[in-house]
């Protein structure tokens, strides 16, 4: 199934945006947790600054790929002013499609990349 995600003028989802979608994962996360998760899942190679994070969150919300969680956390457990985000159905589809695309790409190029000298 083709999924069209109009995130930029080229009709492609950006690198930061896909990292955010992957970092949100199956549950709900606030901005700081998303940022930490991105660092964690990329072994610190990708770091997202607040500007990139929230401009992308806004665009993902507008594209309907994520939604803001209606319920706020227990004030005793976390700051209740934090906003939590979770994947929408479309967001889950985009993540699945992106994973399949990357998987196919890696499968295709791995043989010759392994043979590269050095």
């Amino acid at each position: 199934m083709d999924i069209v995600v109009s995130m930029n003028a080229e009709g492609e989802i950006g690198r930061a945006a896909i990292h955010i979608l992957l970092a949100i994962g199956p549950g709900e996360r606030h901005g700081y947790a998303i940022m930490r998760e991105i660092e964690s899942m990329t072994d610190g190679r990708v770091r997202v600054a607040p500007g990139t994070l929230y401009t992308n969150i806004r665009r993902l919300l507008e594209a309907g790929l994520i939604v803001e969680a209606a319920e706020r956390p227990d004030p005793e457990l976390d700051d209740e002013r934090r906003r939590y985000y979770r994947l929408s159905l479309s967001g889950r589809r985009v993540v699945s499609a992106e994973i399949e695309r990357l998987d196919a790409l890696v499968t295709r190029v791995r043989p010759w990349v392994q043979d590269l000298p050095g």
Partner: protein, 189 residues
């Protein structure tokens, strides 16, 4: 909110008003937490590094956000992340900020390498008794300010883009390559 957070929050004024209303609190809280983490991990050096990355990120994303807001005003029914309801217009002040942003970004970039601009002032030739660099920089600043003034009247995205290409872009290029050009001219002489 920490002192770092208060300064960062002031810088968020580069973003459009609507964006600030929605995300300024979240961004400031996140930055405060990043500062806390950086301080624990690497002290003052790590905090400075964080500041450099955060400001560069802020300037770049603020510029993009303003351009997108402009696009929305012109094409409210556009397919890219379009919103319903009234659209915030890019004010003339906002357009001036857009015109100046590449210039500020370049100065910020150059500030990381003290001495980069020295050839402009320390090496002859001069013009009318003044270092060539002074004249060059004055011309560049005037050209950029003139561009900001022209930008105030631009309402289309093409107009904004053309103004950026004609004014701030050449100005930043002149600053970037000015020192090298001065040295080349001197060696030719």
């Amino acid at each position: 909110m920490s002192r770092n957070g208060r300064v960062y929050r002031r810088l968020l004024r580069l973003y459009p008003v609507q964006f600030r209303r929605e995300y300024a609190d979240e961004m400031t809280r996140l930055f405060d937490e990043q500062v806390r983490d950086a301080r624990r991990a690497g002290g003052t050096g790590a905090v400075m590094n964080l500041w450099i990355r955060a400001v560069a990120d802020l300037v770049a994303t603020a510029l993009l956000t303003r351009l997108r807001e402009q696009e929305r005003v012109l094409h409210p029914a556009g397919p890219i992340g379009s919103r319903t309801g009234p659209q915030p217009a890019l004010s003339s002040r906002g357009r001036v900020l857009v015109a100046l942003t590449p210039f500020w970004a370049l100065l910020l970039f150059l500030a990381q390498w003290p001495g980069f601009l020295d050839p402009l002032f320390e090496v002859p030739p001069g013009i009318a008794g003044m270092p060539a660099g002074s004249i060059l920089l004055a011309a560049v600043v005037l050209w950029t300010l003139f561009g900001a003034w022209v930008m105030r009247a631009r309402t289309s995205s093409i107009g904004v883009l053309l103004t950026l290409l004609v004014f701030p872009l050449p100005a930043t290029i002149v600053i970037l390559f000015g020192p090298a050009l001065i040295l080349i001219v001197q060696n030719l002489g």
